[in-house]
C-alpha cells in the first residue's frame, strides 16, 4: 500500500487540507514543512514523543482543559493538583505480541489561584480527556445592582 495523502490536524497544520491538496507544489510544501518541523523541533511540543496537544477554554463558572489522548485506558490516566500545578499523566501500551512497550505522556499546566483544586472533574470520550476546573466563588464575575435614586 502507498500513502497518497494524510492530514493530521495538529498545531502544525495551519491551512485546511483542501487548500494544499492537488497542487503541483505539494512535494515542495511537504519538504519545506519537514525542514520547518526539524528546525523548530526543540521549541514546539513534539507530537508523539511523550507530549500531546492541549486546549484550554473558560467560561463564567469553570475553566476547561481538553487533551487529545487517543487509545488510553481510563485507569492509565492520572490527574494531580498540587501547589497550583495540574499534572496530566497517561500511559498507553503500544505494540502487540513479544515486545509491547508502555509509552507515558505527561504535561503540566499552571493553574491560576481562582481554581478550586478539590472540585476538579474529568471525563474521557472519543480519545479526548476533558478536565473541568471550577472557579472559586470570589473569582466569578458578579452582577451588582446599583440603585439610582
Amino acid at each position: 500500500m502507498r500513502l497518497v495523502r494524510y492530514t493530521y490536524p495538529s498545531q502544525r497544520t495551519f491551512a485546511p487540507a483542501s487548500a494544499f491538496s492537488r497542487t503541483p507544489w505539494l512535494g515542495l510544501e511537504n519538504e519545506i514543512a519537514r525542514l520547518f518541523d526539524s528546525a523548530v523541533a526543540d521549541t514546539a511540543p513534539a507530537r508523539f514523543s511523550g507530549s500531546f496537544p492541549v486546549d484550554v477554554y473558560q467560561d463564567k463558572e469553570n475553566a476547561y482543559v481538553r487533551a487529545e489522548l487517543p487509545g488510553v485506558n481510563r485507569d492509565a490516566i492520572n490527574l494531580e493538583v498540587s501547589d497550583g500545578v495540574l499534572t496530566l499523566e497517561a500511559s498507553r501500551k503500544q505494540g502487540e505480541g513479544e515486545s509491547p512497550e508502555t509509552v507515558t505522556f505527561k504535561r503540566t499546566l499552571n493553574l491560576s489561584d481562582e481554581v478550586q483544586g478539590d472540585q476538579i472533574r474529568a471525563t474521557y470520550e472519543n480519545g479526548v480527556l476533558t478536565v473541568t476546573l471550577p472557579r472559586k466563588e470570589a473569582a466569578k464575575p458578579k452582577k451588582i445592582n446599583i440603585q439610582v435614586g
Binding site: L3, S10, T13, G71
Partner: protein, 90 residues
C-alpha cells in the same frame, strides 16, 4: 492498520474505497459551547484525512473497522490471489 483520530466519534467517521484508493475522513464531533472562550489552543478543528492506494492487494469487501477511544483499527484482508502460496513439487 491503526489510525489515531482523537475527538472523532463513530458518526463523524467516513471510510470509502474507490479506484484502488482507500480514504478515511474523520470529522471532529465535538465543538466548544458558545459560552466557552478559548484561552489556549494546540489542536485544530480541521478534519482528519488519510488516503491510501492499495492497488487491489486487499479485499475491501471483507474489511472490518473498529473505533475505540479515538483509535481506529482497520482490518484489511489480503486478496486470495496475492497471498503467498507454497507450491508442492510433485
Amino acid at each position: 492498520m491503526t489510525v489515531r483520530l482523537p475527538g472523532v466519534a463513530k458518526d463523524g467517521l467516513d471510510i470509502s474505497a474507490e479506484n484502488g484508493e482507500l480514504t478515511i475522513t474523520g470529522k471532529r464531533t465535538w465543538s466548544a459551547p458558545d459560552a466557552w472562550t478559548p484561552v489556549y489552543r494546540e489542536s485544530n478543528d480541521v478534519s482528519y484525512q488519510l488516503t491510501l492506494r492499495h492497488e487491489s492487494v486487499i479485499n475491501i469487501d471483507q474489511a472490518k473497522a473498529d473505533l475505540r477511544d479515538g483509535i481506529l483499527t482497520l482490518t484489511l484482508p489480503k486478496n486470495e490471489t496475492v497471498k503467498p502460496r507454497k507450491i508442492a513439487i510433485a
